[in-house]
Point group: C2
Chain length 636, copies 2
């Protein structure tokens, strides 16, 4: 096992190697920006799904894309500028949890922490599902579609393994594909734009909806049956274009911003000068995201892709339209898309364990999550993240369109709390130019809070209620765990006047049949040299009693044997009664019950032994000043 562990996870790292794990900008960009950049792919689909459903027309729906794209780009700019403030104020790590903890207090920080944890889990689930869908959109892999859930689970387990190996290496592994994605997507947009706008390369033909007669969603059947022209007429009339639908579509598009806070949370992984490097990376990231979002939005407006739950995604349909279904560039696009989405999942693997260890060290999560494992990463957090993400994938059958609506509430809750925290930070610290900073963060907080309300309202029924419920549950769990730890802390505090004292100690050996294991336990008990030492045995009648006494006298232990009657053949209650009696009989600080136990070496053999001992231990665990000691006797 240790050998296998080494092969899979690499050599262990010592504490002082921690610094070497820091990332340069060129590696930090793919590590931290992939989530944000990749989310544009499914955000576009989400917008189309919502608007097409609302308008009952695809032609009408695409007309919302450009206004929404402007809205999202504006939001992106506001959030980026606002978050740059955080990067400079918190160069050692300024996730929403830390910022709100320091500035807003316990409760808001726990809300932020819970929201972020939920978002990281959703990032893994959504990204992996979308990534696998990108692969199965390639004609050669079409048949894998029916095994989507299985492939998603395997993908999550693989990303988990990579992360158990450590941050930097997984960063390097993913760096190249991200850059490939950026290049390929740029080609897609420029090539598509040239075709569509200039009519170069043979021009761009509008996708014929009749290609999807079978799996076209119900709400779109209408627009297929009627001619495209009629749809256009409807749009021209302008009556169907509603502000409500625009806002709803915008709320859906807001998920594109998920992952933008990754840099502020993981800032400690940057090389010096930390804040400057991080801010630069964030700005690059926002610019790339904005460009891509506009580009895809432009193409979608001209291509009219059909938002579907299974089969080719909106993004894949755009790729097919621009490059052609069997063109190598389309295949490359899909592979690069899949890889950047897996990397987005990987971002969450950097953040979730980091955040949960912070929360654990503050005492709101089990201490184990705060322990560093072999490779300086938080193995427990990585494993929990994977398991919960797998659970989500299985529940939602690998459909990312079902998972996305759960998303945005958490994202914007943590944005708002983070910006609000920054406002208080400026007020508190009053650093140079603090008024400007505060103004920026006030705008950031207001805008993100407004989006939060919009998202919560418009997405409530379609999934936001689930995430709100989960966030509340996690919040309550945080508080319960903290309360527990505080209580324990109090209970185990050493009294000021503490002096070590000598314990009066009574030992009781539980004797059944006399065999080597029993004799071993008796020898052990004698070596403890307690104040009082007795052996007890349980019999159901006089016959058994006489046999037991006779056997006992054969050995000369010098330990008194006490006989306990149990006419009901029960073991538990009489033994516990005997402990009570013994404890009452002597002036006693502690009673140790010694039980002989067999150790066997094949797993199934354990079921053949020690069952009574196990029950007894469980029962006596809750008796005060009672220790149960099993004396193992190795049979092999």
């Amino acid at each position: 096992m240790p050998f296998v562990k080494r092969i899979l996870l690499g050599k262990p790292l010592a504490s002082n190697q921690a610094d070497h794990q820091r990332l340069s900008k060129t590696i930090a960009l793919p590590v931290f920006a992939s989530d944000a950049i990749s989310s544009t792919t499914y955000a576009m689909q989400e917008i189309l799904m919502v608007t097409a459903y609302g308008a009952s027309s695809l032609v009408l729906a695409v007309s919302y894309l450009n206004p929404i794209a402007f809205g999202v780009a504006f939001l992106l700019a506001v959030v980026t500028i606002s978050y740059r403030q955080t990067l400079f104020a918190y160069p050692t790590g300024g996730g929403s949890y830390v910022v709100s903890r320091e500035n807003l207090g316990e409760k808001p920080s726990l809300v932020a922490g819970a929201s972020l944890l939920v978002d990281y889990i959703l990032t893994v689930a959504v990204s992996v599902c979308a990534g696998v869908r990108a692969i199965t959109s390639i004609p050669a892999f079409r048949s894998w579609q029916q095994h989507t859930v299985l492939i998603c689970v395997i993908a999550i387990l693989m990303v988990m393994l990579l992360n158990l190996r450590g941050t930097k290496e997984s960063g390097r592994i993913f760096a190249i594909p991200t850059y490939v994605y950026i290049v390929v997507l740029s080609i897609l947009i420029i090539y598509g734009f040239s075709k569509s706008y200039f009519g170069w390369f043979g021009g761009l033909e509008v996708h014929d909806l009749q290609d999807f007669p079978n799996n076209l969603p119900d709400y779109l059947q209408h627009s297929v049956n009627e001619s495209s022209e009629e749809g256009m007429t409807l749009l021209a009339q302008g009556g169907a274009f509603s502000l409500f639908l625009l806002l709803k579509g915008f709320s859906s598009g807001a998920v594109a911003l998920s992952g933008i806070e990754a840099i502020s949370n993981g800032i400690s992984a940057f090389k010096e000068p930390v804040s400057k490097n991080a801010a630069k990376t964030m700005t690059y990231m926002a610019m790339i995201m904005g460009a891509f979002f506009f580009g895809i939005s432009y193409l979608a407006t001209h291509i009219h892709p059909v938002p579907l739950e299974v089969g080719e995604s909106v993004f894949a349909q755009i790729g097919i339209q621009v490059f052609g279904r069997h063109n190598p560039m389309f295949i490359l696009l899909q592979i690069a898309t899949a890889l950047i989405l897996f990397m987005a999942a990987n971002t969450a693997y950097a953040d979730f364990p980091r955040l949960s260890s912070l929360i654990a060290r503050d005492g709101y999560l089990p201490r184990q999550l705060g322990n560093r494992g072999d490779r300086l990463v938080y193995s427990n957090g990585i494993i929990i993240l994977s398991l919960v993400a797998i659970l989500l994938v299985v529940i939602f059958r690998g459909l990312e369109t079902k998972l996305v609506p759960l998303y945005a509430v958490g994202v914007f809750t943590s944005f708002t709390l983070s910006q609000l925290g920054m406002v208080k930070h400026h007020l508190r610290i009053k650093e140079r130019h603090w008024q400007t900073g505060m103004a920026i963060n006030i705008v950031g907080a207001s805008v993100t809070f407004f989006v939060l309300l919009m998202v919560a309202a418009s997405k409530f029924a379609s999934g936001a209620w689930v995430s709100i419920l989960i966030v509340i549950s996690i919040y309550i769990m945080f508080r319960m765990i903290h309360k527990h730890y505080s209580r324990v802390q109090e209970a185990i505090a050493v009294p000021k006047d503490y002096r070590p004292k000598r314990m009066n100690h009574t030992v009781m050996v539980l004797v059944g049949r006399m065999h080597s294991g029993t004799l071993h336990a008796l020898e052990y008990a004698r070596s403890l040299a307690p104040n009082h030492l007795v052996a007890i045995t349980v019999v159901s009648d006089e016959d058994e009693k006489n046999k037991a006494l006779e056997q006992w006298d054969n050995f000369n232990f010098g330990i008194p044997l006490e006989i306990i009657y149990s006419p009901y053949r029960e073991l538990m209650r009489p033994v516990i009664q005997a402990v009570e009696d013994l404890d009452a009989r002597y002036d006693n600080d502690i009673v140790t019950v010694v039980i002989p136990e067999f150790v066997v070496h094949r797993w199934w053999e354990h079921f053949l032994h020690n069952q009574s001992a196990l029950f007894l231990k469980g029962r006596l665990l809750f008796r005060k000043n009672t220790v149960v000691t099993s004396i193992p006797y190795h049979v092999d």
Copy 2:
């Protein structure tokens, strides 16, 4: 919990109350005969299913019923007469396992034991499924049919609870319904016969197959499409009547005999004179069974019920035809059928734990199965039987027609071995009239062996292979467990020259942060007064080391503190290394590792503590001469 247990299970019984649990004939008949009597209901359906499938004609199939009924009645007579010998030879319990163990040796007895255990489990599963089907055949409960599996599981759990209360009470509870069943079934047969033979009460109309156009099995569609007359012609031609099909049908009918051995196995529950009472009960039982089998067979021949997997059973169809679907007598028949089937399951609950405790005491099953629980019944066996039966019901989706083919092989294996054992018994004991007895048992053994071969051959593909495989697996398990216990027995035998010796004892306390729990553990360790006592603590750098030493010096325990470095923040390996070092350092018989442990009082709080201690214990369990003692510190 103990309160709930008392409510559900009743007062505990002392050993000397065991005798009072013995049953009078009038209660023993329902307890032990219900399995045999009730099995006629599904045996008839099984015969029809097999012959109708083989002949592709229902009209043809029913013509096999009477010859097969004669065959089964003959078999019943042979087995009953043969088993009466056993009852007199083994008045303290002469199940197939005991008889073959005493006369044929270990291996045949284990085969018999395995076969019987499998049969008991199948009895529970088949009877409960058939019972629930009887209920859902009542028009008012038709809609429950879709929840068959759930209802079966609940029924099994209820029978389990009744049995955990004790034998006699469950006997009494079931006595009345069995007699009701006998009366109602007699009325069914006499009334139906009067209608059909004498034409009284308006005569008996032959069931119209067109009532089942939708769920009629494929292999019968043929006979529905063609007219009844044509079927009759086919029969008249005689060409389709095959000996092979007759034997196959007979093999299916042989399951009717399952349960007949129950009396010999549970004979010790009879009142004195044991053998005579048991033999009389067995004879009554066989006569009732035979009469019912003939009666139902006669009715089926005239009614042509359709054997179906779901919906109304053959038995229910006969009831509908004779009484009418909405007649109270039909409803009473179905309820009585269901109840006697549940009682059949109950028979297995008397036998399975009894047999498995016998096998456990011989050392072929885990010892726990040999322990008597509170109410003088074998709780562990009851619970295992229930769980496995539930598993079967779930796997076979509550369809008794799928379970029945697994059945007969085990039944006739144990019959054959039991009779063969009796032959040797007569040869060995040579009691008065032993030659007659032996002749009877030779006939019994030959006939049952012949049926066994026939059943194994004709039912192999349709399920017998599963039960053969399971019997072989259980046989292998018996042998492995026995081998293990023998090995342990040898390993723990006390050497002849054994003298108690004094152990050299080293104690090592694992110290983390200094809190009340740690101090408590240190005090405890001191009270053990070992030859050597050290405390160890694990640190990852100099800083931590200095802190630990400073803290340690604040308390004056007079115990040396050893510092262990673990740069990788691992706990397990350094601690185990420390144990090795310590063990090597001193002339040592045993090392005790003392670990402070928190005891918290809510279940979820346990996950917040003691995880490392748990791992360490698991790891050190396999180190020889090492004891790990947790010193519980109660937080509340």
